[in-house]
Amino acid sequence: MKDVYMDNAATTQVKKEVVESMIPYFTENYGNPSSIYKKGRNSKKALDESRDLVARTLGATSREIYFTSGGSESDNWAIKGVAFGNKDKGNHIITTKIEHHAVLHTCEYLERNGFNVTYLDVDKYGMINLDDLKNAINDNTILITIMYANNEVGTIQPIKEIGKIAKENNIYFHTDAVQVIGNIEIDVDELGVDLLSLSAHKFYGPKGIGALYIRKGVKLHPYIHGGAQERNRRAGTENVALIVGLAKALELAYEDLESHNKYLIRLRDRLINGIMDRISNVKLNGHIEKRLPGNVNISIEFIEGEALLLSLDMAGIAASSGSACTSGSLDPSHVLLAMGLPHEIAHGSLRLSLGDFNSEEEVDYVIENLTKIVQRLRDMSPLYENVKGDN
């Protein structure tokens, strides 16, 4: 059977070169980087080189890069670390309604612990309004945390402008760039961000490893206490192999960013156009231009997302949905709702996220099968029946 993976925003296949780069650090160079002897120094060297590469890629210095267990830990650390570390200055945090749960639930946790959080609205494209941001700032504001690009609809926020506002008001600015790394050239100084989260498994690296960029001078509490690793700020024996893998994946991603983007945009537009041409009552979610190269998010009226995913899976197509049923909760995507989509439309949303390993042929296969599946499900749907009646 066909095996078409179009859920690259959920996670990606680890590139062969990345797997190969990691293996020696399981088998031969297994020393603890804190150790003084040769095997330890070898690990330390790999760690240092990886850190240097990440720093170079982000336009940061090596001492500003801290490795974590992934995007969620980076987000938790950045937000709680700054919040608890700057309680004396204020207790107000600004974020948006469309953040990843790693940010949202962390903010909610802080609300239960004495902090106030403003959740900015977004427009129908998923964009925040910079005036809203300015108006939300008060004397107690210690942190702005706004994601660089959204994982569901791919909308890219005006990070540089946000950075400027944060700086003018002397407020720390964290951005969750998990979906962006490997897709957009990044320079932390140019963007004016103070903290930035990334996660390797979104750019063809392994799961369970990430990093947090922390600008020199930013005051924040450590999150995992213990040994002196990561300059005393993040304890735990370093995940050397996966850190090497993260660095390798990052290197590969930025080696040919341009062709990666060109390729993905071509596939993406072919997919969007194909769907729009073939299926009625379909709407593209997210921003038309300010959008991640691989992201396609559409709402398909009269059908429900999980039924769609199951059907696609049976055709060998891996995709995801913002619908209730996939997550075990009954609420549809908070992102789509924040963008003003009615519940019933949000339930029928589908995300197809393209990656380097997808082909044009796969895109066509998806269009073909999706068309059939939608027809079949609509034929079963009492909502569609009404519409047909209306015509």
Binding site: F302, I303, E304, G305, E306, A307, L310, M314, S323, A324, C325, G328, S329, L330, P332, P342, H343, E344, H347, D379, M380, S381, P382, L383, Y384, E385
Partner: protein, 138 residues
């Protein structure tokens, strides 16, 4: 995640469709919650001679509709009234906990259709006198 039975009834749902001159029609759920089930009944001499459904919903909603219709097709009204959501779930070899509400929906859709039949036909169904589907707003 799902049993083979669920996948079978999702992939090849039994009794999909409408009945033009149905004797009873029931619809429960709402689009906001992500599932709507609509049941059409044809009843002759207290016996459900035909049944069709249309469902907007997830895999287990569709499978539950399909299984429920199968279970009461050809049965008497009394037998149909005894169909519980648990029986539907069991016939499907189980549903994940978060999906049990789909089987409730199926039970209630059938009861709604029977109540509609009762109202239209004047045949009194004692058990449904106070029936109100609960799954409309969850």
């Amino acid at each position: 995640m799902y049993s083979e039975k669920v996948m079978d009834h999702f992939t090849n749902p039994r009794n999909v469709g409408e009945i033009e001159d149905a004797d009873g029609i029931g619809q429960v759920g709402n689009a906001k919650c992500g599932d709507i089930m609509k049941i059409y009944l044809k009843i002759e001499n207290d016996i459900i001679v035909d049944i069709k459904f249309k469902t907007f919903g997830c895999g287990s909603a569709i499978a539950s509709s399909s299984m429920a219709t199968e279970l009461i097709k050809g049965k008497t009204i009394n037998e149909a009234l005894k169909l519980t959501n648990k029986a539907v779930a069991e016939a499907l070899d189980g549903l994940p906990p978060v999906k049990m509400h789909c089987s409730v929906l199926a039970e209630e859709a059938i009861k709604s259709a029977l109540k509609d039949y009762s109202e239209k036909s004047g045949v009194i169904i004692e058990e449904l006198k106070d029936f109100e589907p609960k799954e409309d707003h969850h």
